[in-house]
Symmetry: C2
Subunit: 370 residues, 2 copies
């Protein structure tokens, strides 16, 4: 028998955060492109506000830019929609040197990034992120995906964008509830990794809530740095990156259980941000009950979440046993132990895999009686 | 405005070439897996010969292995078939630590590699290659893909396998015409990069044609080394890797024109190998007419192709104008100049982009009057 060894090397990109970045997308994209054709993938909601200026910027830079507008909402993250987009890119004659520009929130960047990852075995893409959640989370890390009917994000690829633009000006038109969903991830980043950011959220929430551009630029940049540190240490999600799941083990199950039930969570319609806020509270209570963390930092987390309009109290109508069953199902489906990221202090977490079902139940119950 | 820079590092894998490697697939796969579940993706033709021993090897190594058998043939390289396979993997509860084992030729490794590249954003895969073309070409390089209805290999990803096993014993059951298709790529590798291999093909063709296991191991290993050198220097096909297209610029167009026409090429039903052999002859004649290469090496290439049962003469029934139009269409569709890899000697090629249509026409015409 004979054998041949095969080895490879590396890559990188830049995330820019600021106000009024849309007009420079054309020049930046032109610098990345190795062919004159580009395609913008966006959704109908975002297109109404930002598609025309973006196309003008691309065309002004000498690119032949066409737009593909998908319906707004998670349903567009499908293999069928991806199939239609391949067809659009082929008709627009995009080649290997062309660039896909994703304009929108996480649904659009996940979908467009996946299409860019798999069109002609991967072409360059630029993420122009227009939601707070996208700017602090979805657009950084190179995770792209579409959903399988029975499993969110099942079909995807790691495909780093060539450039990420987080234009905080676009947050001005973001609905309040979507803004809050982004804030839940901001609080998460602070708790897992950055006591100084947490202090800022605690002491100066008003400019953030008032969407002051300078305050948003500062907050988004700090969050991108936290996420960048974590993903650079663990680009393929095999270790450290797991800390980004803080609040999400319980949060995902709460989200599903509430959607199956009353459709409400913390007294309002379910959103990912509301579920994550309650997930963080539940996971902090598990840590508290174990003596991993004191009651003061847990209370500080609670106050910040409340200040940002996020729920910290769970209504009795949410079926906790169903929520526990969903977590167990995830565990069985994935042939592993259920892992939790638990806080030890503001700015520090620990990865544990021995949390008993009853500890989770008690933590959830404690949130219903607050 | 603020910015954050993001950077990453590297990876690698091994290709093993030898006889009777199937029984060791289980142990090798177990060593790669981080979970007890694995799935074999194969086609009905290959399954009849090799699926049972492969499953026995995987199960003997303690893996819970299930098989997904797709119909044999290029039609299985579709997004629809990929969609069905995601569903199979999810039902078999494959997780991020699981391994996909592709058992078959290029269609199977392209499809299974693409599914592995995109299931849960990429899980490990092992390529067990059972055709000569697969062993010397498709399974090395990490190119995975499915076809778009209007464009072969449009949808794909670069996803390196964790291990490639080229078991030359499986070539014993390969139909002659498929064996010849692999030989066309072997001759191509020799002409572009390895005069010593070319000398071996010229002076000792009988053990290869007789499928002597030692001769095949030697030939496959030499070809894997050539391809590995090229792809390591250019993993994402941005430069050197283009030399692997020798014979393919004309070959692809001839293949399509002949399929649209009589279905024959060089006096027998069209295969990729027959098209590539004629493509190499046409491209060598372009080089000869330009004075890039002498007539002696072109004649040596012709004799080796003939000895291996590959065509070197083109029937008048192939529509040469249609063939030229197909090449022009590719050029226009991809917004680039038509590039040719032309031989300068046995073992050395040059990349050129100024070949005029009439040079191609004359080269093709010369093959009809041989």
């Amino acid at each position: 028998m004979q054998q041949v060894n095969i080895r490879f090397t590396s890559s990188g990109y830049v995330v820019r955060i600021g106000s009024n970045l849309l007009p420079r997308v054309g020049q930046e994209t032109r610098a990345i492109a190795r062919s004159p054709r580009a395609a913008v993938i966006t959704d109908a909601g975002v297109a109404a506000h930002y598609l025309d200026p973006l196309l003008a910027s691309l065309r002004g830079a000498g690119l032949q830019a066409e737009a593909a507008v998908v319906p707004a909402g998670e349903a567009s993250k499908s293999l069928t929609q991806a199939g239609e987009l391949y067809d659009r890119l082929l008709r627009a004659r995009l080649d290997r040197g062309s660039v896909v520009v994703a304009l929108g929130g996480g649904v659009v960047t996940d979908l467009a990034g996946f299409v860019a990852a798999t069109y002609m075995r991967g072409i360059a893409w630029v993420a122009v992120s227009t939601t707070l959640l996208g700017q602090v989370d979805a657009s950084v890390g190179g995770k792209t995906a579409v959903d399988h009917p029975r499993c969110k994000n099942l079909i995807g690829a790691f495909h780093q964008p060539s450039l990420v633009l987080a234009d905080v000006s676009t947050l001005a038109t973001l609905p309040d509830e979507e803004f809050r969903t982004g804030l839940a991830e901001v609080v998460k980043h602070a708790v897992i990794r950055d006591a100084q950011l947490f202090g800022l959220l605690e002491t100066r929430p008003d400019p953030i809530l008032g969407r002051d551009p300078d305050a948003l630029e500062d907050v988004v940049a700090r969050n991108v740095k936290i996420k960048a540190d974590v993903i650079m240490a663990d680009p393929h999600e095999s270790g450290l990156r797991r800390i980004l799941n803080y609040g999400h083990t319980v949060g995902h199950a709460l989200e599903s259980a509430a959607i199956e039930g009353s459709g409400k969570l913390g007294g309002a319609p379910v959103t990912h941000g509301r579920a994550v806020a309650l997930g963080m509270m539940a996971e902090a209570r598990i840590a508290l009950a174990r003596g991993l963390i004191g009651s003061a930092p847990v209370e500080r987390q609670r106050q910040v979440l409340k200040r940002f309009g996020l729920p910290v109290q769970l209504e009795a109508s949410v079926d906790l046993e169903r929520c526990l069953a969903l977590m167990q199902h995830d565990k069985k489906a994935l042939a592993g132990r259920l892992r939790f990221v638990l806080p030890e202090a503001i700015g520090a977490v620990r990865d544990v895999d021995d949390v008993a079902e009853d500890e989770i139940r008690q933590a959830l119950l404690s949130l219903t009686s607050d």
